[in-house]
Amino acid sequence: MNKLSLEERVALRDSVHQLLTNECDESAVRTTMETTSGFDPVLWNKLAEMGIVGLIINEDQGGAGVGPIELETVMEEVGAALLCSPLLASGVLAAELLNALQNDDVSSQLLPAIADGSCIATAALTGQSGCWTEGGVTVSAKGNTNEWLLSGSASYVLHGQNANVLLVAASTSDGLSMFVVEAEADGLSISGLPTFDHTLRLAEISFDKVAAERITTQRPVWDAVIQALDITLVALAGEQAGAAEHCLAATVDYAKTRIQFGRAIGSFQAIKHMAADLLLETESSISAARHAAACLADGTDDATEAVSLAAFACADTFVSTAATSVQMYGGIAFTWEHPAHLYLRRARADAQLFGSSSFYRERFIQQLEA
């Protein structure tokens, strides 16, 4: 994995910011979020061309070959802009899962297409319970070296309805394995779920003896899943921190110009103190996300601890910042036309995507106890 220099990272961030400013303003988000696929293929291709989709895919597989630090940087911009895309599903979760499984054949087969955006991949790792531990898997596989059939169901599959390829965790008589399933496979049924956050796409998938290719690996499979989830959590933390920072900045701008009682409302302590408290939260979330990214990149001992911290700190901060901003705006944010509720919806969704804040707080203290 390479690391960009600070200057290169700033340039990367600027270019993403510029692209999203041009192609992903509020009106574009509102249009895209009401489409069936929930993403804009043109923008998706531009992101792929820019190297964003393949950011953490090795250079020899067509990716940019950088790591969590650069990913987190990009995701702050993604969060601020409320980008609708399968980036997290395909370019992060699925890509890192393939990286982690260290099966060169499968990686060579899938990663280049993931990196150039032509193949959208995602991972099916949990069932109805939405429990992101090994026990949450509710797909089982039967077969032998050459032929495997999957049965059962998976849910909360990010952009499952847009995927060309699914990476599916399934239990076998030998323990857990990962499988590759084509989206068109017989016996596979993918249903989009109606999400409260319209910028999000989730699917439920049922498997009725679906033919699948087993990904052989030297690693314990759930370890690979955890590696993939950890970088996904860091990316999500970046999205949350960037979005929270954006919410606060926009609200503060409004508070400077909205006049009531002959004064800008931001001159009232009620508003000013809410903003000050939120600044502490948003700055802390940025610190948490960046620190987790740095720890993952450096492979420090406390990386998992840092990821847990970022997971709950950023989730809680985005929710509270988006929620408080509605209160600070007042009536205007109670209208559909105002963007505040879009952020609050995203914040509530992000806070549940891969497990709750309580789950990660518990994981955090377990790591501290260890």
Binding site: Y156, Q327, W336, A349
Partner: protein, 408 residues
């Protein structure tokens, strides 16, 4: 005197009971139970109200020239009790009919003669035209203008957060009538006819994806001069009267269970049931949070009951001003808990996901309490100043001509 009153009380009770016995037939009761339209009264209700009004039961505390009986509060309560006993609607409008009370308090003879009867009879639909995009917390900052021309006023401006504007015949409107005096001194209060060309009503889509409110665009709309309530340029005082009626009515409605909390409120059981169903009721932290949330609800109900007991009839209670702030916390916290109970199940919307739908709806709807009708922040100012007697902030725009007041 005590003896005289007692006889009158019993006579009155007998009178109303007998009248109800004759007129409140089972058929009427049945016809009124169903088909209550969202806005405006049904024909059956209107017809019943007309009977109540003509028998002078609708507003017994009011003077006899305005459909009343000049009765004491105590005796009016007797009538209300008899109506309540048979579940007949229509009495007590001298307490609960915001529109008629405001009109009686400030209307011209012409307007009162024209509208008080129809208002009591449910013949007239009404709405409120107070808030504006730039006058929310600061209602005295309104910029809708009304200019006198001969025997009417010409109105231009925009109002927002109006419910019922689509069906309303009149709106109670505040508009600026003098721009060269300080903000509170140049406002007038009107009954504005809504069915006219100059009034355009547009539904306002809310974050809940409902449209409970409207925006009202007013362009050269006309108001007859006799539709002024209170004095010209003294609309702020008239508004305070109307707001006081409104708070009284809302306060009674919002106070929750009448008993101090002896009965377990239904939504309490719902939350515990929800957690049980989701299999998380045994989680110790969640139990603490649910207990605390239910406690907030019970304490608010107890405060309401105590406030009701403490205050003399009609007076506003300091405990009442706390209810809105308390409800705001309760609703936001209930939404948070519903979300926590559902976990990832809260990600969805639509009729197949009614628990999620409830959690998400409440998450957004809670702002109607924490923002609507004065934000929590304004409410804390009110409690601090009016209840605790803390001094007001310096008001930079209070004494200067409105023309010079800074606006967004």
């Amino acid at each position: 005197m005590d003896t005289n009153n007692k006889i009158a009380d019993e006579e009155l009770r007998a009178q109303v009971r007998s009248w109800l016995g004759e007129n409140w037939t089972q058929a009427k009761a049945a016809s009124l139970k169903q088909h209550q339209p969202l806005w405006g009264a049904s024909d059956e209700l209107k017809s019943w109200l007309a009977e109540v009004v003509s028998a002078r039961w609708a507003a017994p505390r009011w003077p006899t020239e305005w459909f009343g009986r000049d009765l004491s509060n105590k005796q009016a309560k007797i009538i209300e009790a008899e109506f309540a006993a048979v579940r007949a609607p229509g009495t007590g409008q001298d307490r609960t009919n915001l529109w008629a009370n405001t009109l009686l308090a400030g209307g011209t003879e012409v307007l009162k003669s024209k509208l008080i009867g129809p208002l009591l009879q449910g013949e007239v639909n009404m709405c409120l035209l107070y808030s504006e995009p730039n006058a929310g917390s600061d209602l005295a900052g309104i910029r809708t203008r009304a200019d006198r021309q001969e025997d009417h006023y010409v109105v231009n401006g925009q109002k927002v957060w109006t419910s019922g504007a689509m069906t309303a015949d009149y709106g109670m409107l505040i508009a600026r009538t003098d721009w060269d005096v300080p903000k509170h001194q140049g406002i007038s209060y009107f009954y504005c006819p809504m069915k006219q060309e100059g009034i355009e009503v547009r539904p306002l889509r809310q974050i809940t994806n409902e449209s409970q409110f409207n925006e009202v665009f007013i362009t050269d709309a006309l108001i007859p001069a006799e539709n002024l309530l209170g004095n010209f340029n003294q609309g702020w005082q008239m508004l305070q009267t109307a707001l006081a009626y409104e708070r009284l009515i809302m306060g009674e409605g919002a106070r929750g269970p009448r008993s101090g909390g002896n009965k377990k409120a239904k939504n309490v059981e719902v939350l515990i049931a929800l957690a049980r169903e989701a299999g998380v009721l045994e989680q110790p932290k969640l139990r603490q949070d649910i207990a605390q949330m239910i406690a907030y609800k019970k304490l608010n109900a107890l405060n309401g009951a105590r406030g009701k007991a403490d205050i003399s009839q009609g007076a506003s209670s300091s405990l009442m001003s706390l209810g809105k702030l308390a409800m705001s916390r309760i609703l936001h916290e209930e939404a948070r808990l519903r979300t926590e109970i559902l976990g990832p199940g809260s990600l969805f919307e639509g009729s197949d996901y009614s628990d999620a739908e409830n959690a998400n709806f409440l998450t957004f709807q809670a702002y109607l309490t924490s923002i609507g009708g004065g934000t929590d922040q304004i409410q804390r100012n009110i409690i601090g100043e009016r209840v605790l007697g803390l001094p007001k902030e310096p008001e930079v725009d209070k004494k200067i001509p409105f023309r010079e007041v800074r606006a967004s």
